[in-house]
């Protein structure tokens, strides 16, 4: 960087030229230099230099936070959540005399709906809109870089190829967490103002666990959307396919489960046992759907009264109420109840991300 370049740089060129010469002399252009670099472990970065995925995640996160889609999603979700909680708080006040001894009244804000009501609760809206959140931050992750022509430039930097998809996944999860935590905070504040009670530690912990659960669930949709963005060239196609998967797994899954349960465990003579078997089968089949896993995990995390989802167990309790007195589970006990669902969700999310990861790694840069 001497000679001609100095003549191009305008004022103070001489000083800068000297400076640059110094830099040069530290990094001579001799091909003997790389031998040193090569001796270092593969991909080793100098101390204090952040890993590639961190740099990518930081940039992607900043992009997400300042994007219009982030603003729109935050506004929509906050409005829906606030409206739901506001109406739930009204309902709770109506039944307050009966519920005054309920130990976890605060949490009822998030899921309480009286019998025969449409059930427009906070958790209902979140389960409904969560996939949208994940899809919004993932559907153009990789194909966006392709269509902008930035992907070849990005992967030619000294980073591992998987840094790209890892960074994007982490950034998406971070953006989702920010939105969910913000909404919980807004909703909690509304609840405190409306009901005039403060949540205790146990309730705050349950909410925290639920946020983690929700992030994992939204992470599943983020991973599915990222996979679509790897597979499909156009962002529009990727978004449509992601939404199609969402509709199939959440809406049509109920119908399909009913049909398959009818085959596998038919209600032949319309006996009670047949019906129980059929319901049990329906429940087992529906656990394939991530939205069902999330719904169950949500219920048991937020509601200490829920002890099991097993139909036979529920029937036993209903038949012999004396033997199973109503009790409130501690948070540890509730965690035990939701553990299978929790693990199932984590497995699904990891699996979806693994598929996205592998398909990205196998793809030609130029393809």
């Amino acid at each position: 960087m001497t000679g001609q370049s100095i003549s191009l740089t305008a004022s103070g060129a001489a000083a800068r030229g000297r400076k640059r010469k110094n830099i040069r002399s530290e990094q001579p252009l001799q091909p003997s230099q790389p031998a040193k670099t090569q001796a270092a472990p593969k991909g080793a970065r100098p101390a204090g230099v952040p890993a590639g995925w961190r740099v990518i995640a930081a940039k992607e996160f900043a992009d997400h936070i300042s994007s219009i889609r982030f603003l729109v999603l935050t506004v929509i979700l906050t409005l829906a959540a606030a409206a739901a909680v506001y109406s739930t708080a009204g309902l709770l006040k109506g039944v307050a005399p009966d519920a005054s001894d309920q130990p976890s009244l605060f949490l009822y804000l998030f899921f309480y709906s009286p019998q025969n009501s449409p059930g427009f609760t906070f958790v209902f809206f979140v389960s409904l809109l969560a996939p949208l959140l994940g899809i919004a931050f993932g559907f153009d992750g990789v194909n966006g870089e392709r269509s902008e022509g930035t992907l070849p430039r990005l992967v030619s930097q000294p980073i591992h190829r998987d840094d790209v998809i890892n960074g994007k996944f982490v950034a998406g999860l971070a953006a989702i967490s920010v939105i969910l935590v913000a909404i919980i905070a807004v909703v909690g504040a509304i609840g405190v103002l409306q009901l005039g009670i403060l949540p205790n530690i146990d309730e705050v912990l349950r909410l925290a666990v639920w946020v983690v659960l929700a992030v994992v669930y939204v992470g599943l949709w983020l991973a599915i959307a990222l996979l679509c963005s790897v597979v499909f060239r156009r962002a529009a196609t990727s978004a449509l396919v992601s939404i199609a998967i969402w509709l199939v797994l959440t809406t049509f899954a109920g119908f399909l489960v009913g049909i398959f349960a009818g085959f596998l465990s038919p209600i032949g003579d319309n006996t009670t046992q047949d019906q129980i078997n059929n319901l049990s089968m329906q429940r087992n089949l529906s656990l394939i759907s991530p939205s069902q896993l999330f719904t169950e995990a949500t219920k048991a995390t937020l509601n200490p009264a829920i002890q099991s989802f097993d139909i036979n167990a529920l029937i036993r309790v209903a038949n012999e109420p004396q033997a199973y007195p109503l009790s409130q589970l501690s948070i540890e006990q509730s965690l035990l109840v939701v553990w299978p669902q929790f693990v199932g969700l984590i497995a699904l999310t990891s699996g979806a991300f693994a598929v996205a990861y592998v398909s990205f790694m196998r793809q030609e840069v130029r393809a």
């Binding site: 000679g3 640059r20 252009l29 003997s32 790389p34 090569q38 593969k42």
Partner: protein, 333 residues
Amino acid sequence: MAVADPLSPKNAGGVPAIKTRALTKKYGEFTAVDKLDLQVRQGEVFGLLGPNGAGKTTTILMLLGLSEPTSGTARVLDMDPARDPIAVKRRVGYLPDAVGFYGSLTGRQNLRYTARLNGVERKAGESHIDELLERVGLTNAANKRVDTYSRGMKQRLGLADVMVKRPSIVILDEPTTAIDPAGVEEVLALIRELANDGAAVLLASHLLHQVQQVCDEVGIFVAGRLVTSGAMDKLSSSLAANGPIEIEVAAPPPAEGVKAIAEKVNGVISVEKDGRDPRMWVVRAKRDVRADLARALVEAGHAPYHLRRRGDELDEIYRRYFADYAAEGATTA
């Protein structure tokens, strides 16, 4: 078919920046790059010239470790890109074909991102970025969003982006495509500067006229094979070996004696008046006789004002090799 001669005297000194041996890439039955032997030295601009689809980008991706060769080896700064891509990519700047930037970020923010990815220390990086923006003439546009940039500005930003990591090797894929002539000149001047700074430059392009002026050496690359390579003059002589060369010569009247003098020059086959321009003679010769012809004319008292070898342009060479290749393809098919 002629191949690169890695041991030509000109290449003897120093370890080459890029060296490939029988580098081959196959996609199923299709051979994208066929036994490529290539050598680029520090401080040199090597033009890898060929039509679209010749395998230029595939070659580049293999040099960067972004694509695995099917067989053969590539050495970049004496490292193996397939085994140690990160170390290679730390030293090699790559400007892809149709380079893109994040449209919602400014030019400066885009460069900053590249600096961060290269682990450049923030403060030092910032002054270097200022310097680079000035060098490519984008200081005034540095804080504007890139989606307001013209194609030429993006290309210049691309060159700045390549220089952020202070590369020892610069690989440019079609750097002059889709920009206006003034933009081309600017880009070419910057490329020449890179080589003057000591970097090895590999320039892949299908636009011969545009890049020939900055290339020290060129390789003609067709359908995955390096048809010929070498310095421009070497290519010209290898072209001459394929048939007589034609030289245009003109001198102010009275110029009737020119024909007789020219015919006496060693190697000249025939001398005729040009069909279109009667002031001009066309000398057909077995070798490039321009120097001898000029001396003979001057010694005889003529003052030649025009002496041009026909087909002495990369374009001609290119077309020639393409024609040869096409003919060969037709006979073997």
